[in-house]
Symmetry: D2
């Protein structure tokens, strides 16, 4: 495995020259586009890694499956899906179009921004800081002894430039899908996006979603989360990724991708150069190659 990963990094390194690092948050634009790393963690906790696995990055949208796990554990699926739909969309992650045209008056799914903001609002706690403490504790528990931190600069940068998310959140309030304070909810959402990991810790966290037996996240919720990752995890390229790589995954604009191979591995890649849809160019290639080499396809 170690050799395979090294080869995949070497073969796909040149793809880091395609695409661009995210620019909509100033802090993210400072990332080195040439970075490329991958970590695979099996269900016993053994790692294989290659490339820049010590580079730290913020979770961004990769946080959404974990927030969903906590919201499911706090509220149960019935309550969660009273507020959030289950459909893939084909629209970009920050679109408001479906909100306006859908009669159901709820965000289409928990992995687009509108649904993720609603998910975050469902996390329980006595206060905003208590909610974040719970989420952070949950993530730390999943990561075990691996690195988990918090990037204060990214958080402040998100908060300052989050007008599209504010627009979405006020829209959610207007249609009755969000009952919490917009600024409080978004503060928690921006914090959740600013949780800092590296490829090793993210791969370790992914094993909690890959595991089949009992665990911190109940089996039924793992199944739900893997399904959403498969149908909506890669923004409006989710369908293409499902065909080409064929595994549940979730990407973020910092260039991280978390993939989950049920019963086998948690996987994390980092490659900050993004394609037009916001996914890591080289990260997608590494995962598609890995899936083909090891026949990891779900179907």
């Amino acid at each position: 495995m170690q050799d395979l990963l090294r080869r995949l990094i070497r073969d796909n390194r040149e793809l880091t020259e395609r695409g661009n690092v995210a620019r909509y948050i100033p802090q993210l634009s400072k990332a080195d586009p040439a970075t490329l790393g991958v970590a695979v963690c099996d269900l016993e906790g053994a790692f294989a890694t290659a490339g820049d696995t010590s580079t730290r990055f913020t979770l961004q949208s990769v946080s959404k499956p974990f927030a969903l796990a906590l919201a499911l554990m706090d509220n149960g699926p019935e309550e969660v899906f009273n507020h959030i739909g289950m459909e893939p969309t084909g629209d970009s992650f920050n679109s408001l179009t479906k909100l306006e045209t859908f009669s159901s008056l709820k965000p289409v799914n928990p992995l687009v921004n509108a649904g993720a903001i609603t998910t975050t609002a469902l996390i329980k706690g006595n206060s905003q800081s208590d909610k974040f403490r719970r989420l952070m504790g949950f993530v730390r528990e999943l990561a075990g002894e691996e690195y988990v931190g918090f990037d204060e600069d990214v958080y402040l940068s998100e908060r300052e430039t989050g007008d599209r998310n504010r627009s979405i959140a006020y829209f959610l309030r207007d249609i009755g899908a969000l009952h919490e304070s917009v600024e409080d909810t978004l503060d928690l959402y921006f914090r959740q996006c600013s949780i800092e990991v590296d490829c090793r810790s993210l791969a370790k966290m992914a094993t909690a979603l890959a595991a089949l037996g009992e665990g911190l996240i109940p089996v039924e919720y793992r199944r739900i989360i893997r399904t959403f990752m498969f149908t909506c995890g890669m923004y409006d390229a989710s369908g293409e990724f499902a065909i080409k790589a064929g595994i549940p995954a979730k990407s973020g604009v910092s260039g991280g991708i978390m993939a989950v191979i049920p019963g086998q591995y948690g996987i994390a890649t980092l490659g900050p150069s993004l394609d037009a849809k916001g996914n890591s160019v080289a990260g997608i290639a590494v995962l598609a190659d890995l899936s083909r080499e090891l026949n990891l396809y779900v179907f």
Copy 2:
């Protein structure tokens, strides 16, 4: 004229039973749906009135043409139309769809909410309260000796329930169409909507847009405003009103409609029972009848 107006009020009174008063702001839902009044003011300032002309109501969207006049006087048309488009839309007044799909990255026209919020942000002043003082002074000057007030309860109610407008304003900031603070801009916008008039004062104000010679509002800007009222003044029923009544008009969700007959009259109606598109059912009927009786059609 007096007799004609009385007859039109009598004939259309039963239409007040159709439709519903606006409910999205609690304060507006207290209006009496049976109210119906009309005032016509000629360019010499002589009035003819009938029905409930002493009932006071807030301008709501009827304020938009006046805010546009002030923004044009403050900035000139070139600057204003750098920020705001000129196209009718066919979408509802609070839609974000065109914002998301239009490549021009500006609101479609100054009479939908998105464009009106941008217009309001273009009003000059040393502070928010200075800006509102200027707008209020402008409206008072147009109304002459007629009643102009401010409904504090409606303003607070608007501010409290204005989530859709907050969503629009943050969207405008995100696409770079709004550079001011959202809360400051909306505060001014909600204040502008909460200016209180009656049919007499609104008809008087309308004469400033109906006049042909020199006046407080420059001739060229009057022409621009009358054109927008004709193509986009009645929400997504503007086209139908242009065919059926054939005169420039602007409606508001408090049930007021202001119409402008170039070279002849300023007209105001009040009828809080609204149709599904947000226009006064009986007010539209009174104006269409009046237009037919006096052959006021622009075309």
Copy 3:
């Protein structure tokens, strides 16, 4: 007037270098982009002309107001507007979006393609060729002694390449807005688009819409048609043209524009170089200048 027109042609001639001739129908792409002509006809039938007024061109969308006139005369407004809406749209002329999202199940207005196809289907006749004979006779009567012909090549080219219009027409049938045969209706529609005129004949035809007293087209229908020309006559630049030129007009992709000055003139311009929205670049400029010089603004 003659001198003014010559000056406007001279001043705007260089604008013919901007934009492009229509390419979606092969025949139209053969037009000379440098062509520019204007004709003004007063209500007594006296002409003033300048530039390339002998160049012949097909009516294309400029035929829509005349087909609407005939449909109104054949069916009355109530029947016509049972099938066609009255709203401007802001979408491009060949869009299907509003058809799909509007609950009313009818095309938004008679000047977008969907509405114009429905209009054409409402023209009465014992057969398709009888219907076209009636329309052609109507146009010839309006043009008086001026040239009216038919461009067989354009007609065949339209018919061969009319897939978008077929898509629209079958959509109209599906939603119940069109009851006639698609191919028959489109055949008539393509023929109507292929009627050939020059600036003189089109200006003469326009006087029938500009006239105020009795005439071939009833007064009420003239009013309706002028209103639609003002709110929806220039594709998705109708709002901008209404603000800048301020007169009712209808453009076509062959580069012709017909304008109507109620009580004064019928006007036609020809300039085959089109902007991105399908309107003649130089034609718009000539009309805007003429409107400013002679203060023709409706408002």
Copy 4:
């Protein structure tokens, strides 16, 4: 298994009273809404069945995965996905919206009508009847000794009432996604929809997609088809079905659903009472129950 199926049919029988049989094609409206059947076929060809398994029905959209298989075998995936996208949509199956707003100028995926029509056009043959012979032969080969027929009445009914599909096909031609004749392509498409099966034959056909080893359909294409069934197989309820039943499936408006359990079973249900999104109410319930009882979930 036999007992389980009998219990599931008994338990879900009352759901056939909810929903309605499809009405948009007259022939389909004659189906008995009370019908409910299920057949499970294992990879050795052994059947378990319960309920109305002798009722015949037309494939309708259930034909799409098989047409896709043949198109892939005829052209290879690269050529097929030059013409058709891979994204789930969230819009209804006969929507044109994404076609108009997507810049890629191809239908979003092969299981919505627009994509399925394009798929059908990619099936090779010397003539239309040859193409259909090939498709019919392919389906017959998959069904083995089970019943496969053709419902001439449904075919004629489809052809007569297929205006929405004609609208879609002409749109595809206009954007350059379809190069074949519309009527020829739709004729083949309507024939494909009119292929007649029963629960046994459909379950048997499904095993060709469930199998893991070598077979008539290459392994790689089976994987692609199962993936599309999972992400887009149940119209705009695909996401919800993926969460709740968790298996790849494809439904049709005649009330049939085909499900595929990789390495285990082909499954077919029939229940003509459809929900608002076009899926069999009782069929969905039977599949969700079966999935839970046997833990068939993909994830």
